[in-house]
Symmetry: C2
Subunit: 257 residues, 2 copies
């Protein structure tokens, strides 16, 4: 296995260029890459410092999503093995649109727009976490329902932070599960309910970490709770997502679409 | 202003390809683009359905980060104006590494690794939100301190969700601010403290939304709290981030590095 350092340069947080670099580099399995993110490259001094650091690293690669043409020129001229995402992608878009790009710094990033509404959504999701303030459920964009530890809270927070959705979550307690129908407060908001489920093995493992050797974490108890919950989901025809093999980002992206 | 639809196709959540597309398209200010994300394109049927939808949309563009060569061929052969990020970037990396890529589906995405540790971090950050459980602060990777509504909670949650950092947050109350030193429980964890501040105008506006016309939301009160907090930060030489013009992603990326 050959080891290489790959730098990821950005004039913003570097999250996107890091994700792109990771995807591209995963197609070169003969190498093992260590990624170093250099965010906020937004001045000639920072671009020069970054270029110097990369040049000083043997066999380093560098991915960049910096937009400012002056800064990109500094990086390019330093002689590092540079993959400038804009230089690689923009020409193709130019020819499709029949128009030249207007390169500029301070680009629009998807994650920074709607800041206020996203912070409002985070506050909402925290305020309505775990069944709190059920009287406000009618203000939610989505209401996640499921048994304890199925993944509702992180998913709701991610929906709020990433997509600005006011995502509430409501845990189905053993009392709720003993009833033939969902609680009234949920039925009053039926179109916005989204159900989460998971395998009993996985749920038991997750609960086990928190409450080792408890009845709550036993496979029998998990299996019984999940079966009761799934009966309720079916009865009310809720859309259900099985989170067993999914990351919170995947669950959130599926809920959004 | 010319309007165009731009599709963003992914075999995963589509977050990265959407961010790339948005950055690239921001360099074409003569157009107004509407983005449509088509995530989880992971079968020939889904690729064909996506291609049909794009073909049926006049003048549509399509960015794709799908990795599977078979699916990419389906998209390419459909005749849509396709910007295949891998096709555009991988050849440059191949020549730098002197090795051909091994294209494959099911790529490694930066955001899905370390799922367990990230969920553990989210639970930790929620459990230690807003000064809860101060006896566990020694388990934190970072402890955000600042006055009420400076942005501690969303930042801590983002650090946990995105980077898997166990980020606690501790609000400086008027009582804390009246003391010449930070509370003992914080001083015991000094190396991990990170201070957040903000302009008094912005803080007042944020508090105003929550408690209109309150003393708590007045500019005088905000100014006095921030001045007292900044004195404490200076006294203990804490690293300080001014969140006035920053998104939660930016704050988090700066705290990480």
């Amino acid at each position: 296995m050959k080891n290489r350092i790959a730098f990821c340069l950005s004039d913003h947080t570097g999250v996107t260029v890091e994700a792109m670099a990771r995807s591209v580099l995963s197609q070169f399995p003969a190498f093992e890459f260590s990624l170093i993110v250099l965010p906020f490259i937004d001045s000639p001094e920072k671009a020069q410092a970054a270029a110097a650091r990369i040049t000083a690293t043997p066999d380093a690669l560098a991915f960049t999503s910096v937009t400012d043409p002056t800064l990109r020129a500094i990086l390019r001229e330093s002689g590092v093995a540079l993959f400038d995402l804009f230089e690689l992608i923009v020409p193709a878009v130019e020819s499709a649109l029949g128009q030249a790009a207007t390169p500029h710094g301070g680009q629009t990033h998807s994650m920074t727009h709607n800041y206020e509404s996203r912070m409002d959504a985070v506050n909402f999701s925290l305020a309505l976490d775990d069944g709190l303030q059920p009287q406000r459920l009618d203000q939610a964009d989505l209401i996640l329902v499921g048994v304890s530890r199925v993944g509702k809270t992180p998913t709701a927070l991610y929906l709020a932070l990433q997509y600005g959705l006011r995502a509430a979550n409501y845990p189905l307690t053993p009392e709720d599960l003993a009833h033939p129908k969902l609680p009234e407060v949920l039925l009053a908001n039926l179109p916005r309910l989204r159900a989460l489920t998971i395998s009993a093995e996985r749920l038991a493992a997750i609960r086990q970490v928190r409450y080792p050797d408890s009845q709550y974490a036993s496979q029998e108890r998990c299996r019984a709770e999940l079966a009761a919950a799934e009966r309720l989901f079916k009865r009310h025809s809720l859309p259900v997502i099985d989170t067993t093999r999914m990351s919170v980002e995947e669950i959130a992206a599926r809920l959004r679409h």
